[in-house]
């Protein structure tokens, strides 16, 4: 191995221009790969942060045929004991008609236990006015979205009238306003669980439990465990399939592009190596006459392609990481996908996987030229000019 490495290094050193060209070809392909991988990861991360991170990962709903979950303390204890569930929030959710001055609007009224809902859906970080925690101790109060407030001309401290068929009409005081920048701001309002139960006149029941998981990828598995217990449950990926679909489409088209780029780069290796073999026919003949085995010759050229691939992979990823990170800090003009900068995420795993794959791909690409070199006829090879 050492001897073959020695000779392979000599070849590489002796043909500087070809070496630089083929390493550059691989390097550029790898750089594009690295940058697009970083974009992909950043975009995915951003999408998860903006969506899945604020969604309940699993929602438990009443048994089929029931409108409510009675005696819900039991089921909450049970789901909290499931490994991987880190927070749970019981709620009673329904529709309500809102009226303030001459403005009316229908929206969702969600009765919650504030601390628990925040643990599941991180509402507090979106509060822009007022104090969300006040819901817990101030009776007959409500938290609304900024858009909702604008539409209804509501201000902090105003009292909004709510009513609904079969419900007990009441007036609730606006104690906080949230702003997520999404459509939720217009359609969801929060009150305490107690207030919701009074409004809908249901007694101490709920109609759903939101769960937060340590790993949101396990949503289907954990939903299934709860279903096996007799309740209905659905994971975020089933209730919001468009999120997964967006990511899947992006990554498929991304991977196809990258596959082609890598394939082209590997052809570059094959042709470079073929050129080296052509130029070294006489030398191969000499080595064979001097006692080299065919396997020695094969190894020399495999090492060469491996080294070219590794050099290209290392330089390409280095350049790619630098490029991705510098693009990543670049601020965007307002309003592009609601992003303020280009999302970029460089993951160590991606770097390792890319380097490994490119290295292996180049080794494989080197097999043909190496085999060609090893099967040269020594007499013909040595009499080549």
């Amino acid at each position: 191995m050492r001897y073959e490495l020695f000779i392979a290094l000599r070849h590489i050193k002796a043909r500087k221009r070809q070496t630089i060209l083929s390493v550059a070809a691989i390097g550029i392909a790898v750089m594009i790969l690295m940058v697009s991988q970083a974009f992909m990861a950043g975009f995915t991360q951003e999408l998860y942060d903006k969506t899945v991170n604020n969604l309940p990962h699993v929602v438990v709903s009443p048994q089929t045929g029931d409108d409510y979950i009675h005696l819900y303390k039991n089921i909450i204890l049970r789901v909290n004991n499931i490994d991987g569930v880190i927070a749970s929030s019981p709620h009673l959710t329904g529709e309500a008609s809102f009226k303030f001055k001459d403005n009316t609007k229908n929206a969702v009224l969600k009765g919650i236990i504030p601390a628990q809902e925040d643990a599941v859906a991180h509402i507090k970080k979106d509060i822009v006015k007022g104090n969300f925690d006040e819901l817990a101790y101030s009776d007959k109060s409500i938290v609304i979205g900024q858009k909702f407030a604008d539409d209804m001309q509501l201000e902090l401290g105003d009292r909004v009238e709510i009513s609904f068929p079969n419900a007990n009409p009441m007036s609730l005081k606006v104690i906080a306003i949230y702003d997520t920048g999404t459509a939720l701001d217009e359609s969801i309002t929060y009150t305490s669980l107690q207030t919701a139960q009074d409004f809908y006149d249901t007694g101490d029941v709920i109609n759903g439990i939101s769960l937060r998981l340590a790993d949101f990828n396990r949503d289907r598995e954990i939903a299934q465990m709860i279903k096996n217990d007799g309740y209905n449950a659905a994971g975020w990926s089933d209730t919001n399939p468009e999120i997964l679909r967006t990511i899947a489409i992006e990554s498929v088209s991304n991977n196809i592009t990258i596959g082609f780029i890598l394939l082209i780069a590997s052809f570059g290796v094959v042709s470079t190596l073929n050129m080296v073999v052509m130029a070294k026919i006489k030398e191969i003949g000499i080595l064979l006459a001097m006692g080299a085995r065919k396997s020695n010759i094969r190894l020399i050229f495999l090492i060469e392609s491996g080294l070219l691939g590794l050099a290209g992979a290392l330089l390409g990823t280095a350049a790619g990481v630098v490029l991705a990170l510098s693009i990543g800090g670049y601020p965007l003009p307002q309003g592009v996908y609601g992003l303020t900068y280009i999302p970029v995420l460089v993951r160590t795993n991606d770097v390792i996987i890319i380097i490994t794959i490119v290295f292996l791909l180049n080794l494989i690409a080197g097999i043909y030229p190496a085999q060609r070199a090893a099967s040269l006829d020594p007499v013909e090879a040595i009499s080549t000019r």
Partner: protein, 255 residues
Amino acid sequence: MQQSKSSPDIIKKKRRTSTAGSGKISKKAETSTYPIVQLQNVKRIYTLGENKIYALNGVSFAIKKGDFVTIMGSSGSGKSTLLNMIGCLDLPTSGKVKVNNVDLSKLDDDGLTEIRRNNIGFIFQQFNLIPTLTALENVEIPMIFNGESPVRRRKKALAMLKKADLPLEYADHKPNEMSGGQQQRVAIARALANNPPILLADEPTGNLDTRTGHNIMELLKELNAAGTTVIVVTHDPKLEEYAHTTIRIQDGEII
């Protein structure tokens, strides 16, 4: 399979006994009766489309260990073909070649490499040094494939360059920085690297002036005197005077 695995051991043993023998002979070489190279009715036929070229057409002879042989013949008579067979670089179309009593037709590629590595040193008309390597590194090449350690390699390569009378300051020169005679000395040092019992030279003086050619032949004579079997292929009748034995070849046949 079985054959090729066991053969290298046999060869190594043989080589050891032969080098032990050559040590005793020291200065005054004596030709033994042991046939180190044997050819029996060897044919080498090249097929070019419809045409068949009989490069060798039924050649038989034996070369005794310690002999200095010239194989004499005009251009195209089949000399190089013959030498490549003895050097295990080529196999006959029919007939038998034995080197150090091993029948080459029974060996696979690795078996042939093993025999070549342990028995043969090659010297060419074109020197055939690797242009990117220094003189010393060129001499190290055969030892590299023989698994010699770097330190021993370096030491032995220097010793071989000395044996081939190359001034030591040329050890780290590349081939294109040396004269033809110096390059051929490096090539001879390289051929000697693994202490082969047989040296094969294909027109070794063909690219050298008369004086340098003479010096190279004198060097081969010295090496022969020290026990190495030397086989020189040439079309130059003047080289006959250096040899103990001359084999004449014409149109692929011994005459």
